[in-house]
């Protein structure tokens, strides 16, 4: 079937020969960026003694326009005349003695250049000519002592650029004006490939496993031997052979076919470990065989709970889970991880993470409108100064790069970031974890049809919209399914562009409301091969013509077009009758679209390139032909030393604890994320008298005329996994639930999302402890299922990322087994939210729940340099009772502040409530109800020699009381007038009346008559705030 190309060939109206130009832009004054960089250099590189610096931005262009036009473009399109000046082909370098030039390497996405291209088109009122090539570039001029290429290169690599995607040129200066020779990039690929496909000869290699594994590795298929053999078996079948002969295809698979298989069967797309058959052993005794963790623990939990409720609209079947908001609207939510890309290029990894999960929402059902983002990061110590493995970026650079990516991805898309967390542990040196979540809203029906169902008819057109396809992001899916090694390729790196995506989003939501397409999905991992491959399962087949795809530059190979993960693209199924208005609308929103083929019911995925068949895949084999993994998991307990708590000075220790990175305020970072755009955020990340009080979660009102709101919270405790992943999973869920309830959440309307980020759990020469790591995964699933059933908390979506290791030779760094639990719920009355700072003096402070003595995995132990042995246990029955009472108490205005106890225990929570509200507080530990009566002091008479022992156990008791992270607990503020009602309301639960708020702005802790802690709030707050300012 012929398709008309939608992109008109750009013809030059000008006859000028093409010429090269360099436009440089400098600010007339010292810019904030220059001031900032100077401060950083003074701090980290005082030996360079930089006295002056100037940042000059610019562009290299190759264009067939005269110099006059280029000058006009600089003047009218680029420069801000109030504060900037430009020059062409030169920069003024008076008073500087060194020049650095930084720009992107060949083939890396250059968003600035792309935007300028659009801007020039606006100015010239004609398509900026196809021959025109723009690259953005930055020059930094410096004046300093001893500046040479060696020390400047080292400084630049640490602070200014990433060698994986950028290149640097250094030059000493001796003249006042530096003439620049413009060096725009040539086209990336100037020659067309020789063949449309390459034959991958594997059929003859069946008896040669080493060779098959080599092919898989060299081609980056990441397929294991069993999978390679399954492919051979399929191609050996008579029916396959016959079909291939008829179609004039070779017996062996083509490279296009192998790539499609590799992407579709990648761990990233297929979740092979969660689907594996696992024999699970405890202490050498076989406990059970699991046929699929996903089916038996994740999916089944939701199905078991779902039988008793009708609010779960679509779970585990689409890009995101969908639940009912009210009669008219539904909410979709998804949390993704983007760990491997963020390790290599933190900015690009994070921005593509956030834009990717936004597209997941946009591609859910008939398309949902993103409402808000949540972001959780796990990093190594940003002040890590020990020697790190070669080629790994420094934790500080990763932190700042990820932060910048999340900031721009969220802010520029107009999607508020309303919740998140940052967790620190040095195991994340191996790979940072970057979790990006988005919730969206969709009408439950459009034109009387359910929006959550994906419907495609044979004959519907395959339309790709948004960004163009390039060589960037090739093999992202298979790469993320492998451990990070030194020689990771540039081509897996992508840089997202929120501007292109925003235009596409506006277009798609307008098209959805006009009912111009049937359904859609996003192009993420695996590119077109995944998006079309998945959509084709609905109609039963597809026919694709790859030469119709819009490319960034000519001459990509067909397999590259098929699997490239170039960003900001969605694939649509469009009824041919609606194609004309759809394309017209796309143009209005400045979004490119191309028709790639059509869906069929042939049970085949057929891929053509210029009328020639390059891939013919049996749909059933493609999606169901991959063999199941068979794995063994062995759990055993390890004994670890316990700290001596008798010698801890708790008052001093408290000051240390509130400065620990996991507890310290993250406000200065969080405030750089827009959390209020869309005018729906009714509970912000920070509130309180000075805007410094940390909230336990976020809340959002998605429908203006509805009283209902959404509350979002999370739980994450990677360190607990080292003791036992079973307890970790339960503690994580309870933490998320507590955070949710502290905001006023309703325990009967909760929905969960699980994100597992594990180190490689497959036993092998490089992973001798794989069986144990797999046992941790099994136990986390067991613990998770148990608590979710007890809490009536269904999972609606989830994700796993199973290869979070750095490996180079013998050196291996594995992340802590990490489960992020994201909780979203509906509150019937958005006016009844709760905040976590003290409101006034002379209120009563209560601890809700019972304090237990297990301290294993706690932040307090960590600060002492210990892990410990016993995790706090979650008491489902007691908690359920308390949680319901807490919800009712908030609805009935019985309490005025609520903050859950987590990292740092009672002491951290008390402090945050007090300095958040700037209200003093006094509590007495002897009022605290403990679970284990042995730990409580008694008034028994003691002999002289016992006194010493008792004092010791007293300091241990206080340590536990102040810093235990036992679940199921909250600190609440109650006004005196409500005291009676409060006590009556909670009489069936455990609570302790610990103290009161007071006029004096300090935090005071007594134990009976002994003063334990007494500090000014201002002092404490300052300590809490300063750690993460860098």
């Amino acid at each position: 079937m012929p398709y008309k190309s939608l992109i008109p060939l750009l013809k030059s109206k000008h006859q000028e020969p093409s010429a090269d130009y360099a436009i440089s832009i400098r600010s007339k004054f010292t810019s904030a960026a220059e001031k900032n960089l100077k401060l950083t250099l003074d701090k980290h590189y005082p030996s360079l003694s930089i006295t002056k610096l100037k940042i000059i931005s610019g562009y290299y262009l190759r264009a067939n326009y005269p110099l006059k036009t280029i000058k006009e473009i600089a003047k009218r399109v680029i420069v801000d005349p109030i504060v900037e000046k430009y020059s062409i082909n030169e920069i003024i370098t008076t008073h500087f003695n060194f020049l650095l030039e930084i720009r992107f390497k060949e083939g890396v996405v250059d968003n600035l250049a792309r935007t300028l291209q659009t801007g020039i088109k606006d100015y010239l009122k004609e398509d900026f000519l196809a021959e025109t090539k723009i690259n953005s570039v930055n020059w930094i001029l410096m004046q300093g002592k001893n500046l040479n290429k060696r020390n400047m290169n080292a400084m630049a690599e640490a602070l200014l650029f990433n060698p994986l995607i950028e290149e640097i040129h250094l030059a000493s200066l001796d003249q006042a004006i530096k003439k620049i020779t413009p060096r725009p990039r040539r086209e990336v690929f100037s020659k067309p490939p020789l063949h449309d496909f390459e034959i991958i000869e594997i059929l003859e290699q069946e008896k040669n496993p080493a060779h098959l594994e080599k092919i898989s590795q060299e081609k980056m298929y990441s397929l294991n031997l069993k999978e390679m053999l399954a492919v051979i078996q399929h191609y050996r079948k008579d029916s396959t052979k016959k079909q291939r002969r008829t179609s004039n295809l070779p017996e062996n698979p083509t490279d296009v076919e192998m790539e499609i298989l590799a992407q579709t069967w990648s761990e990233h797309c297929k979740h092979k470990i969660f689907s594996a058959k696992i024999d699970y052993y405890e202490n050498e005794k076989k406990i059970k065989t699991i046929h699929s963790l996903y089916r038996e623990y994740i999916q089944k939990t939701t199905f078991d709970l779902g039988r008793k409720r009708d609010d779960l609209i679509s779970v585990f079947s689409d890009n995101a889970g969908i639940f009912a908001f009210d009669e008219k609207f539904a909410i979709a939510m998804k949390v993704e991880t983007h760990n491997s890309p963020s390790a290599l290029e933190p900015y690009g990894g994070a921005i593509t993470g956030i834009l990717g999960v936004n597209r997941d929402i946009l591609g859910t059902g008939k398309g949902a409108r993103p409402l808000f983002n949540t972001n959780v990061f796990c990093f190594a110590d940003p002040f890590y100064r020990k020697k790190k493995p070669q080629k790994l970026l420094s934790p500080e650079k990763i932190f700042k790069g990820v932060h910048r990516g999340i900031q721009r991805g969220g802010n520029e898309s107009g999607i508020p970031t309303i919740n998140g967390a940052i967790v620190f542990d040095d195991s994340f040196l191996g790979k940072p974890l970057v979790f990006c979540g988005t919730a969206g809203i969709l009408p439950r029906k459009i034109k009387n049809e359910d929006t959550h169902k994906k419907k495609i008819n044979p004959g519907d057109l395959i339309v790709m919209v948004g960004g163009r396809i390039g060589k960037d992001g090739i093999h992202g899916a298979t790469f993320s399914s492998a451990s990070l090694a030194e020689d990771s390729p540039t081509s897996v790196v992508q840089i997202g562009d929120s501007f292109t995506q925003k235009k596409m989003t506006d277009f798609l939501l307008a098209a959805r409301d006009k009912d111009l397409y049937e359904t859609l999905t996003d192009n993420g991992a695996g590119g077109l091969s995944s998006s079309i491959g998945e959509m084709a399962t609905i109609s039963g087949g597809a026919e694709v013509h790859l030469e119709k795809a819009i490319l960034k530059y000519p001459h990509l190979k067909p397999w590259e077009i098929m699997v490239s993960e170039s960003q900001e693209r969605m694939t649509l199924a469009v009824n041919p009758k609606k194609i004309t208005p759809l394309l017209k609308l796309a143009k209005l929103y400045d979004t490119e679209a191309c028709i790639l083929g059509n869906f069929t019911d042939s049970k085949l995925l057929l891929v053509y390139f210029k009328e020639k068949l390059v891939a013919q895949m049996d749909m059933n084999f493609l999606h169901h032909g991959n063999p199941q993994l068979t794995l063994i998991a062995r759990h055993k307990k390890t004994e670890r030393p316990e700290p001596n708590l008798n010698e801890v000075d708790v008052a001093k220790f408290y000051l240390q604890l509130i400065q620990s990175k996991n507890i310290a305020s993250k406000e200065n970072w969080v405030r750089q994320y827009d959390h209020e755009v869309k005018a729906g955020t009714i509970l912000k990340p920070f509130d309180g008298i000075n805007g410094n009080a940390l909230m336990d979660g976020g809340a959002f009102k998605p429908v203006p005329n509805s009283k209902q709101g959404l509350i979002i919270a999370n739980g994450i405790l990677p360190r607990y996994s080292e003791i036992d992943a079973y307890g970790m999973a339960q503690a994580v869920v309870d933490e998320a639930v507590r955070n949710y309830l502290s905001c006023g959440g309703d325990p009967s309307k909760m929905y969960g999302l699980d994100n597992f980020c594990w180190p490689d759990p497959i036993q092998g020469p490089d992973t001798p402890d794989g069986e144990f790591k797999l046992a941790q995964l099994v136990r986390a699933n067991m613990g998770l299922r148990e608590i979710l059933l007890a809490y009536n908390l269904p999972l609606i979506s989830g994700k796993d990322s199973m290869k979070n290791d750095y490996a180079k030779g013998k050196k291996k760094i594995s992340v802590l087994p990490t489960l992020l639990f994201t909780l979203i719920g509906i509150t019937a009355n958005a006016e009844k939210l709760m905040t976590s700072y003290f409101k006034s003096t002379n209120s009563i402070v209560f601890l809700l729940g019972e304090t237990t003595t297990e301290m294993g995995g706690s932040e307090a132990y960590h600060c002492l340099g210990y892990l410990g042995n016993e995790l706090p246990k979650v008491n489902f029955k007691k908690n359920l009772l308390l949680y319901e009472l807490l919800f009712q108490a908030i609805q009935n205005d019985l309490i005025v502040a609520c903050h859950d106890l987590s990292d740092g225990g009672l002491a951290a929570t008390l402090g945050e409530l007090a300095w958040g509200g700037d209200v003093g507080v006094e509590i007495n530990l002897n009022q605290m109800k403990m679970k284990n009566p042995d730990q409580e002091t008694t008034d028994q008479e003691t002999s002289e020699q016992e006194t010493g022992e008792q004092e010791k156990s007293l300091s241990k008791k206080r340590f536990v009381q102040l810093f235990s992270e036992g679940p199921g607990r909250f600190l609440v503020e109650v006004e005196k007038k409500q005291l009676k009602a409060f006590k009556q309301h909670f009489q069936a639960a455990t609570f302790s009346q610990l103290g009161f708020t007071k006029e004096e702005k300090n935090l005071t802790v007594f134990d009976d008559k002994e003063l334990i802690i007494h500090e000014k709030l201002a002092t404490l707050k300052k300590l809490w705030q300063k750690t993460l300012i860098f």
Partner: protein, 272 residues
């Protein structure tokens, strides 16, 4: 009853059009969201509206500099229509990115009446994007209808800012002229009495918003639409605002103080 029609520009990275439209609807206007390319195709339609708003966002991703490319687009395609709209005295509002765009097209403050850029909004002096609530003070000498009654709040109008490039800057001559003609509309509240006081971005003379000489064009960095509902303010502010509501009988119970701007303009148009 007269129908007041407000046009809200959208597309190309602007992103506050929906809530801004909602704020106008709450004030009793009929709001229509218009993608910029559609307006370029149907430029004559602009005259059929009574209010023109450029909402906040990141037009063209704020690549190059904030609002610059969108200002170019307006200058190259719609300048005549915008000028006619403004010179007919109709209200124009630019919020955040919209303010940056109005300044970079030269439509604000337009001291010379030549539509040349006379000021700019540049990188915050912290060099970082920031989202926080600030107190604003009205310039009592600015008589723009957009600002009616705001003086009653005695420097206590709380609104959120959300920008990376909000630092108002211009040359001495233009600044003097702006002061002399009282074109500055809102300033960040000085003094360090509360966390919501102070200049958050290094703006000259703490300027947060400007009008043109006629007062019908207002541009401001803070987001009034983000405080259209009382429940959108931080809890700490919701608590202390009770008295302030008594000054504005036309505010509804659930209204936030940001609604004052939208109700002012709709009431003004209904009366005139």
């Amino acid at each position: 009853m007269k129908t007041i029609k407000a046009i809200i520009l959208a597309g190309h990275g602007l992103n506050c059009e929906r809530e801004t439209a909602l704020a106008f609807e709450r004030a009793g206007a009929k709001a229509k969201i218009f993608p910029i390319n559609e307006l370029i195709e149907q430029r004559k339609k602009l005259a059929s509206f009574q209010i023109l708003t450029i909402p906040g966002g990141f037009s063209y991703g704020d690549h190059l500099s904030s609002g610059k490319m969108m200002a170019n687009k307006i200058t190259f395609y719609l300048l005549d229509e915008f000028r006619r709209f403004i010179s007919s005295g109709k209200p124009v509002l630019g919020i955040c990115n919209g303010f940056q765009i109005l300044v970079k097209t030269g439509l604000l403050p337009n001291l010379s009446q030549k539509n040349q850029q006379e000021a700019t909004l540049m990188d915050n002096d912290s060099h970082e994007f920031i989202n926080k609530w600030v107190y604003l003070a009205k310039n009592p000498a600015n008589k723009s209808f957009w600002l009616n009654g705001l003086e009653k709040l005695s420097q206590h109008l709380p609104l959120p800012i959300r920008h990376g490039e909000g630092r108002f800057f211009t040359n001495k001559k233009n600044l003097n002229e702006i002061m002399k003609r009282n074109l500055f509309a809102l300033t960040y509240r000085k003094s360090n009495q509360s966390a919501f006081s102070g200049n958050p971005n290094g703006s000259l003379l703490d300027i947060a918003g400007l009008t043109n000489a006629e007062g019908n064009v207002l541009g401001l960095m803070p987001h009034p639409e983000a405080f259209m509902l009382r429940s959108l303010a931080p809890f700490i502010l919701q608590k202390e605002m009770k008295k302030q509501y008594s000054y504005f009988p036309n505010l509804k119970k659930e209204d936030g103080l940001g609604m004052i701007f939208f109700r002012n303009v709709v009431d003004f148009l209904k009366k005139n």
